[in-house]
């Protein structure tokens, strides 16, 4: 029976026997994970900002390495939070400043070094967190001037290597033309990232957490599943895998300067799994979505767990660097692995649709939007 048929015949509604305490416990776990995950993302972003400050103050190969390592580390925590996007929650208010991609690097610094925010003092007289925020996306959805990927470009530069990431020299921050402005840009972008993540973290520890937990349980659950399904079946499946696979183009690679895309994908999948299993690192252990489903439909709960674990495994199986994995014949190991991940994500997203049907969740466009 399809979901539509189940809903219309009424058996969807009848079979939804969620225990209220269990549901409440799940929602608290969900909010706890949000608090812990955004807390980690914020603290890692602060470490990144600090490392960048040190590098800009005293540019050296070693300090550049540290700053890059801090960026990779900051991604490890941030990518696990993306399961909390796509329903008008706290992150959605600032996401365009935080993780927008792909970056048109020419908007920051053209290949010939003659235009872009870094070099053009006439059009962009001021380099500051405010100024960067107001120029973000001004010329379209890839004219990205803020967030992780702008910082990534400033740390790595264009990736022209087939084996590794971009290899920007630390001299771009001492002796190269526009070194000072580039440094100011990098510091301002990192400071703005911290500022934006701090608002999200504060919301999930205070006001929004309270409002979220005060929602009718089914309305809160609908948001949870919409977030998971949209990440899995839209952003990850469509934007991050299908486009890169179909176009074989590095410009459609999520973290195209640092070659960290394979890790980004895997950590996104882990973020989804965290919510399904009700856990976050060794910090949160609670009730997961699959446990909630188990009370209603044990078979579906097992299916969900399997599909979500399959998602993590399929992402982890994509060989690095991603910009090489998308090339070659469809029978190449990289393209086979991505094709497989696409299939697995389709299945995972469909599992969320089944969960939504089984739990009788409905989306209300009037209220399920930005607070």
């Amino acid at each position: 029976m399809t979901l539509a048929a189940a809903l219309l015949s009424g058996c969807g509604r009848g079979s939804s026997k969620l225990a209220p305490e269990r549901t409440a416990a799940f929602l608290v776990t969900y909010a706890d994970i949000a608090g812990a995950a955004y807390g980690a993302a914020l603290s890692d972003a602060r470490a990144l900002s600090k490392s960048i400050d040190g590098f800009v103050r005293e540019p050296s190969a070693e300090h550049l390495r540290s700053a890059r390592a801090a960026w990779i580390s900051a991604r490890r925590s941030y990518m696990q939070t993306e399961a909390y996007r796509f329903y008008g929650g706290p992150i959605d208010a600032v996401e365009l400043l935080v993780n927008t991609w792909p970056v048109d690097e020419n908007f920051l610094e053209s290949e010939d070094g003659r235009s872009g925010i870094v070099v053009d003092e006439r059009i962009f007289p001021e380099i500051s967190a405010r100024a960067l925020a107001s120029s973000n996306l001004k010329e379209g959805e890839t004219s990205v001037s803020t967030g992780y990927h702008a910082i990534e470009f400033l740390l790595w530069g264009r990736d022209r290597s087939v084996t590794g990431p971009g290899d920007r020299s630390y001299h771009d921050y001492d002796s190269a033309p526009h070194a000072q402005r580039r440094g100011e840009y990098l510091r301002a972008a990192a400071a703005l990232l911290v500022e934006n993540l701090a608002t999200v973290d504060a919301q999930w520890r205070g006001e929004y957490r309270a409002a979220f937990l005060a929602r009718p349980a089914d309305r809160a659950l609908a948001l949870v599943v919409k977030g998971l399904g949209s990440l899995s079946g839209g952003e990850l499946l469509g934007e991050r895998l299908i486009v890169a696979y179909e176009t074989r183009s590095q410009e459609n690679e999520h973290s195209c300067f640092s070659d960290n895309t394979h890790e980004d994908l895997r950590l996104n999948a882990i973020g989804i799994q965290n919510v399904c299993l009700g856990r976050y690192a060794d910090v949160v252990r609670g009730v997961g979505l699959s446990e909630l489903v188990r009370g209603v439909d044990p078979a579906l709960a097992s299916e969900l767990e399997q599909d979500v674990a399959g998602g993590v495994a399929a992402m982890a199986a994509i060989p690095a660097p991603f910009d090489q994995a998308i090339l070659g014949a469809d029978s190449s190991p990289g393209r086979l692995a991505i094709q497989r991940a696409i299939q697995v994500l389709r299945q995972e997203a469909d599992a969320f649709a089944k969960v939504a049907g089984k739990l009788n969740l409905r989306l209300d466009p009037a209220t399920d939007r930005a607070p």
């Binding site: 399809t2 979901l3 539509a4 809903l7 219309l8 796509f86 329903y87 008008g88 959605d92 365009l96 792909p102 048109d104 020419n106 908007f107 290949e111 003659r114 996306l137 001004k138 010329e139 379209g140 959805e141 890839t142 004219s143 919409k226 399904g229 899995s232 079946g233 839209g234 469509g238 934007e239 299908i242 486009v243 179909e246 176009t247 183009s249 410009e251 459609n252 389709r346 997203a349 469909d350 969320f352 649709a353 089944k354 939504a356 049907g357 969740l361 409905r362 989306l363 209300d364 466009p365 009037a366 399920d368 939007r369 930005a370």
Partner: protein, 457 residues
């Protein structure tokens, strides 16, 4: 049952329970192409009914729609070909998040909208006659070494008025001037028409409404004497090399989503395609003509096809709060005032060969896609095929309540002069005078209800 299909089915189910079935179809603004989302992504989601092949192609088209083009030659040759003259570097530069653009702040040059220009007379098939030196529109940007065409500056003059109940209002009438013209003086007889970029939701559905169904709504001589005439624009279909009914653009000057997209690539981005293989440099723009190109054409058929598919299949957001008393009252006022004579609530798609998923859907776009005389106040004095200066295509209203969320403004009408729905209605005249007058005579509560209805779309 796919995730996308769930997003579709969830909404009617909600409303079935909320208002006993009667508002089911009203919420589903666009049949099975309705998406349930009222966030900033509301205009950016694929119609849930797409096949998995179309679903995959949607994302590829989306990436092309968003990405910035660069001047040729460049190391990334799949995206070189920008200019030599252009308004924007990407489609999303104006159709940000697939939504509607707005006019510049006072004194700022135009960035996300544009000024069409022409001289009196008409070109082949009735198209406007391009300004001999500047062409069809003012392009304020150019590649290095090429003079840009100038900065378009808008200035607003206030016009005071009052509702029948005494509450005053103020409209703002725009005037445009071109500063720093790059190629000398423009013709003294210059005709100008400023255009914002509209939201691009549901275009494949509008394309799939049978021509006959639109023709049936024409009443050029106002035979039924309701004050509303309405006629189709007849334009030139470049691919077919024949006349065709115009459906897209503020004056219904384009027949298909494909041609609309290819024209925008050429004029707005300076990117050529098989439909429009020649750069838009006029004979007088020598430096423009000497520039290297990014291939002939710069946009391959395959890539144009991906963007066209994308533009065709963006879903339409479900209506919100349809059961609210104010929304219901506003809907009644909308109909009683006569707004729905042109802003037709319901159309049906036909066979839809381009997107079979869109066949035979009941849709609620609030447009008849026909031209109507809206009076002298809105006239641009610039004939476009069969449309005279006063005639404009009825703008679809679906999604209008979400522009505030997606694009963070509430500007309306072809040039964005109206700062909100009230001003947009007040600008209506000509065939819409009766409806406008009805609005002016509404009580404050009735007006608020009407806005609540429009916000629910």
């Amino acid at each position: 049952m796919s995730w996308a299909a769930f997003v579709r089915t969830a909404a009617p189910w909600l409303l079935l329970s909320a208002c006993r079935g009667s508002c089911n179809s009203e919420t589903a603004a666009a049949g099975t192409a309705t998406v349930v989302d009222a966030t900033r992504d509301a205009f950016s989601l694929p119609a849930p009914s797409l096949t998995s092949e179309h679903h995959a192609a949607f994302f590829v088209g989306n990436s092309l729609f968003n990405r910035s083009w660069v001047a040729a030659p460049a190391s990334v040759d799949s995206r070189d070909g920008l200019g030599p003259l252009f308004n924007a570097r990407s489609c999303s530069g104006c159709h940000f998040k697939d939504g509607r653009s707005r006019p510049p702040e006072a004194g700022e040059p135009m960035r996300t909208m544009l000024l069409r220009v022409s001289i009196p007379g008409s070109g082949p098939h009735g198209a406007p006659l391009p300004e001999p030196t500047y062409g069809d529109q003012i392009q304020g940007n150019a590649n290095p070494g090429v003079p840009a065409e100038g900065d378009v500056i808008v200035r607003y003059t206030p016009i005071a008025g009052a509702f029948a109940d005494g509450q005053p209002y103020e409209l703002t009438k725009p005037e445009y001037r071109i500063e720093r013209p790059g190629y000398g003086a423009l013709r003294a007889t210059l005709l100008m028409s400023a255009r914002v970029a509209p939201a691009i939701i549901g275009l494949g559905l509008l394309e799939a409404v049978p021509e006959q169904a639109l023709r049936e709504r024409e009443d050029p001589d106002d035979a039924n004497q309701d004050g509303v005439s309405g006629r189709a624009n007849v334009v030139w279909d470049v691919r077919r090399g024949a006349e065709a009914l115009g459906r897209f653009g503020w004056k219904a000057e384009q027949p298909t989503v494909e041609q609309q997209s290819a024209v925008a690539f050429l004029n707005d981005l300076g990117v050529t395609s098989a439909l429009f293989p020649d750069e838009g440099c006029t004979l007088a723009q020598l430096r423009c003509r000497e520039q290297p190109n990014g291939g002939s054409p710069e946009l391959s058929d395959a890539l144009l096809g991906d963007v066209v598919l994308y533009a065709r299949v963006l879903g339409v957001p479900a209506r919100r709060r349809v059961a609210d008393a104010a929304v219901r009252a506003g809907q009644t006022s909308f109909e009683r005032a006569g707004c729905s004579a042109c802003h037709t609530p319901t159309l049906r798609t036909g066979a839809s060969p381009a997107i079979p998923e869109f066949a035979n859907q009941e849709i609620h776009p609030y447009t008849d896609l026909l031209l109507h005389d809206l009076g002298e106040g809105l006239s641009d004095g610039r004939p476009t095929f069969r449309a005279d200066g006063r005639e404009w295509r009825t703008a679809p209203l679906w999604g209008m309540g979400l522009v505030r969320t997606v694009n963070e403004h509430t500007r309306l009408l072809h040039d964005g002069r109206a700062r909100d729905a009230s001003e947009a209605i007040l600008w209506h005249d000509g065939e819409a005078r009766k409806a406008r007058d009805a609005f002016v005579h509404m009580s404050r509560a009735e007006r608020q209800a009407l806005f609540a209805f429009l916000d629910s779309l």
